[in-house]
Assembly symmetry: none
Homo-oligomer: 227 residues x 2
C-alpha cells in the first residue's frame, strides 16, 4: 500500500479514476504498491508470471519476445507516465500470448497486483475498457516493430550485397556488372523487387542504374544503409 | 438497413446488444447493411479506407500486411460468427496501423458503417470496450503469426500451416486445394521456397503435390514436423 500522498500522482496515470466509486478508489489505493527495479532486472518473465498493472513513475521498461533458442525481438519500450498491461495478461482472456519485460534503466513503478486488478476490471467496465484500450495501443506498437523487421530489411539486404560487390571492384570503374535478375538470385528475392529498390537508391543519389550494371556513386550512404 | 428478421441473427454476433438502449438498438438496426463479397475481392485496402465493423455471416476473410515491395504477410483469418474491427481502425485512436482485408471465399457479412459505429462507441462504453477487446484478440492472433514467422524454421512453419489446413478438410479427400503461390502468401514466404520445400516433403512421402492441390499422405510425419 502506498502513502496517501501518492493519490494525486496515481490519478494522473489512470483516466478511469473518476469512474471508480469511492469504495473502488479506496480499494485501489489499498492495493497499489510502489516498487523499484534496478536496470537489467526482469519484471515479467513469461507464462507463469502475472504481475499486474504497471504504471511507470520513471525509467524505461523493454518488452520483448524470446524464442526457445534464445533469440530476442524487442516489441516496444515504455517510459515515464506510461502503463503496461501485458504484465497482467492472465487477467485478460483476449491476451493469449506472453512476453518478457525487463527494466532497461533503474525504474520506479506503481503496481496494482493482478488479483486486485482482476477484481476492479470485473466490477467496473471502465477499468476493463482501459485495459483493452492500452493493449490495443501496444498492438499498434508491435505492428510498427514488425513492419520494421519484416519489411524494412530488404533495403539493408540489397545494400549489403552491393557494398560487398563494390569492395571487390572498387577503384576500377565502380560499376557492378550484374543484371537485376542476377542480383535477385544472389539475395534470394524477385527481380521486380530489386529493380524497385535500385530506383529508390538511384533517387537517393546512391547508385546509377544503366544497361551496363549498377554504378556506386555514394559509398558512404551505401555503407550507412548496411548498418 | 437490414430486414427486421435479421435482428435475432445480429444479436448473436454482438455481446453488447443487451447493453444498448432501445434507441441504440434501433439505431444499430437502421444502420447495419447486409453485403456480399466475391472470393478474391478486397474489403479494406489500406490507409484511406474505413469500412466499419464487419460481422461475418459466412465465408472467410483474410487480413494481411502488404509491404511497399508487394510482399504479403498473413496476420489472421476470420470465419463465420467472427467480428473484424481493424476495418474500422479510423474509429479507434489506439489503432495507428493499417492492414489489408480480402474475401478469401465468397462472403456474406453484416456491416455497421464507421460513422454509425463511431456514434455508438462514443455514447456506449460497452461498445467501445467490445471494439478494444476484439482488437486485443486480434493482437493475440498477430503475435502467434509473428512467432511462427520469426522463430520457426521454414519446414516447421510450412508443416504447421499444412497441418492446420489438413485438420479442416480431413476425411474429405485429404487434399488442400491451394496453389503454392497461395500457400506462400499465407505464410509470408516466396512461391519458389514453398515449392522447394513441398518437393522435399513429397520425397519424404509426407505429401503428394498435384495440379489439384496438396494431398496429405502421412499425417503422423506431418504432425512430427510441427513440433
Amino acid at each position: 500500500m502506498v502513502d496517501s500522498n501518492y493519490r494525486e500522482e496515481l490519478k494522473q496515470y489512470i483516466p478511469f479514476w473518476d469512474k471508480l466509486s469511492s469504495n473502488e478508489q479506496e480499494f485501489f489505493m489499498n492495493n497499489v504498491l510502489d516498487l523499484k527495479y534496478e536496470s537489467g532486472t526482469t519484471l515479467h518473465g513469461g507464462d507463469d508470471d502475472c504481475l499486474g498493472l504497471i504504471l511507470i513513475r520513471n525509467g524505461t521498461i523493454r518488452t520483448y519476445m524470446l524464442s526457445n533458442e534464445g533469440k530476442e525481438i524487442t516489441l516496444f519500450r515504455l517510459n515515464e507516465g506510461e502503463v503496461c498491461v501485458l504484465s497482467a495478461a492472465c487477467i485478460l482472456d483476449s491476451v493469449t500470448f506472453d512476453v518478457n519485460i525487463d527494466a532497461e534503466t533503474d525504474c520506479e513503478i506503481f503496481l496494482l497486483g493482478s488479483t486486485a486488478f482482476a477484481k476492479l476490471a470485473s466490477s467496473n467496465i471502465y477499468v476493463e475498457n482501459f485495459a483493452h484500450k492500452i493493449a490495443t495501443e501496444r498492438f499498434s506498437d508491435v505492428m510498427w516493430a514488425f513492419e520494421q523487421i519484416l519489411f524494412m530489411s530488404f533495403d539493408k539486404r540489397l545494400a549489403t550485397f552491393l557494398f560487398d560487390e563494390y569492395i571487390k571492384i572498387k577503384d576500377k570503374d565502380n560499376v557492378i556488372k550484374l543484371t537485376h535478375e542476377q542480383v535477385a538470385k544472389y539475395i534470394g528475392s524477385a527481380r521486380e523487387v530489386v529493380t524497385r529498390m535500385l530506383h529508390y537508391f538511384a533517387n537517393e543519389g546512391i547508385v546509377e542504374v544503366s544497361r551496363g550494371g549498377i554504378k556506386i556513386l555514394d559509398e558512404q550512404k551505401l555503407r550507412d544503409l548496411t548498418k
